[in-house]
Amino acid sequence: MLGFARPFTGRKALVAAAVAPLVLTAACSGGSDAASGDDDQLVIGFALSQSGNMAPFDVEPGNAALLRIKEINDDGGIDGKKIKVISKDVRSNPDTVGTAATELIAEGIDLLVTPCDFDLSAPGASVAQASEIPSVSICAGDPKMADTKTLGDYVFSANAGSDVEGSSGAAWAYEKGWRTAYVLQDESIEYTKSAGRYFTAKFEDLGGKIVGDDAFPGGDNVNISSQASRLKGLSTQPDFVYVASWNPGGATAIRQLREAGVTVPIVGPAALDGQVLLDVVGEKASDIYYTGFACYVYCTGADSAADLDAFVKAYQAEYKSEPASSYALLGYNMVTALADAAGKAKSFSGGDLKAALEGDGSVKTPIGDVAYFSKTCHKIIDTPMTVVEVADGAMTFAGQQRVDSIPDVGDGNSCAS
């Protein structure tokens, strides 16, 4: 009914549309008389949530990003130029994001970092767009963040997106030899809907068959006993079920499927990632897989375990706690990509930075090489998704999955082929 926490996505651009005119005027009257264009240092504005219901999704990626900035500065900066950060708490409130962006731009930032969510990022991104300053969402998953049209061509997202997640899930299951799938769709947010849509399209493209689908409203109060008994009542069980959902509702749905006696494997997207999934499904559940960003802390056996361990150690040394989900790594990797682009940019002006970001930006990260941004696709273009297996109360690395193409499902996704 009334889901309060709504990370990663798109509750329409309504809020953005309502707020944008206000903040645009504010931006125009605010002026940018400060140190903008000063090329001695790269100034990045962080407009993230330190409080409110989005804080769990912004704090860790933001911390990881700050950690990476510290590392780069300690290493001598970008060709000798240091990165400076100005942070403002946007308190999980779309109105505050627009105001914070206006203030940050007035303080002379070269780049803006916005929250891990399309809806929250939109007002800030609109302000930056009007001032022709690149803005990068730290991990928003909705493809609308990256199509250069919905919000503008100065707007980026440092995440692969739910289209990539859905497609990788399909590709991985197909390679595993599974040919029939059943889709259980969480209808609560844009992220889950696009993950399900792209999963279906990719799986059918590959030659798999969707033998049935069902939906549930999602949100905070999940009860899928009817859906589970319909699935159990099928004359032949599918090879696996794709649960297009997010935590904690998605974890609850998986738990209820298992408790209802559905035993076929379950595959899901990255928003199921984290310790909470393990706790919710419990020790008895097994044969559950999701396409996450990394396998660390609560998950063992990663290919690049040494690099990931180094990241986790550095994070823990700085913040006295381990990251609770793999979204943290996205913030860390984002800074690597931004610094790489800034190193190639002719100057730190908005236009030059944008051009450099859109250049061929493949960077080394703890999960391997990741290619960021092109002219038409303003999100991660190529990244290995980490498939994590949940079984007997433990999470283990089940492989890495890259997809070479995203199916075109007719939603205007400029990253699709």
């Binding site: 309060f4 209808e187 905070d220 935590n247 408790e259 006696g261």
Partner: protein
């Protein structure tokens, strides 16, 4: 299949009825529309998380203790000083209590959602008359049904119940006839605390997660169920909650996949239709204390 559905529907109905009488009881006795009800559920649910490694009955007992303590403290600190205030003031105060408790939980113990592993014995499945039923559904049904019976007995057969009903009928008259406000009101809060703890424990067993805002939806269910059944009648409230739960389960079973996302739209359209015909609720008496 049909029996499985029935147990599921009746179980959900019983849970919703339990949530609903918690709301209706305080409204009846105090004229208090308690929006902090969700946070009582949260207190119980949090105890289930805290004692997740202990035996389930012990965790349940602690859930009751937590919820009752929070209920009594909120009564003493927030509602007691406002005892003669009008219902709107009380309602606003309960909003404040709700937000304060929720923020407190988010700042201290629940900055992010926590998972509670399934209880081994609850996730077993048993066969009844050929139907495959989970123990959790049965426990939900028995626990909620039992609580409803206990409340019915308490209200109908005990001196406390008679005093509570008298206070609900006409608070001033009851107190001039010797019903002690300082006994009746905290007693009502204790009952509501117990009900919300049971509700919270069942919700945690079903959902497997505890988050700071988890009480919001059960509270809304309670309010809507009470409005549907009739605010001033406990029987009506229980009936309203039960129908709401059963209708939810029915819609989940019957709606085609494309329309399941709009389940609540169908549910609330039906609710509006009922309220157009019976604005006072299904079983409401003549007097409704709504300001």
């Amino acid at each position: 299949m049909i029996l499985e559905f029935l147990i599921n529907a009746v179980g959900l109905g019983a849970l919703y009825a339990l949530l609903t009488i918690g709301v209706a009881l305080l409204f009846g006795v105090l004229g208090l529309m308690n929006f902090a009800y969700g946070e009582l559920i949260l207190a119980g649910a949090f105890a289930m998380y805290l004692f997740r490694d202990q035996p389930w009955p012990f965790a349940l007992l602690m859930a009751i203790v937590f919820a009752v303590v929070v209920a009594l403290v909120s009564e003493r600190l927030a509602f007691h000083p406002l005892r003669n205030a009008d219902p709107v003031t009380l309602m606003i105060a309960s909003f404040a209590v709700s937000l304060a408790l929720q923020s407190l939980a988010r700042m201290t113990v629940l900055p992010r959602t926590r998972g509670v592993p399934p209880e081994r014995f609850l996730s077993h499945r048993v066969s009844i008359l050929g139907a495959d039923v989970s123990v959790l559904d049965l426990v939900t049904l028995v626990l909620c049904g039992l609580m409803l019976l206990v409340v019915a007995w308490l209200m109908g057969r005990t001196s406390l119940g008679i005093q509570l009903r008298a206070a609900a009928e006409d608070f001033r008259m009851a107190s001039s006839l010797g019903v002690k406000a300082n006994l009746v009101i905290p007693a009502a809060f204790v009952i509501v605390g117990v009900l919300s703890a049971i509700g919270g424990a069942v919700l945690v067993a079903r959902q497997g997660s505890v988050g700071a805002d988890m009480g919001l939806q059960p509270m809304l269910i309670g309010v809507v169920g009470a409005v549907l059944g009739g605010m001033s009648s406990l029987k009506g409230a229980a009936l309203g909650g039960f129908l709401l739960g059963a209708a939810t389960a029915l819609l989940e079973s019957l709606l085609p996949t494309d329309l399941i996302a709009f389940r609540d739209a169908f549910l609330f359209s039906a609710l509006i239709a009922v309220l157009v015909v019976r604005p006072q609720g299904l079983l409401s008496g003549a007097k409704v204390r709504v300001s």
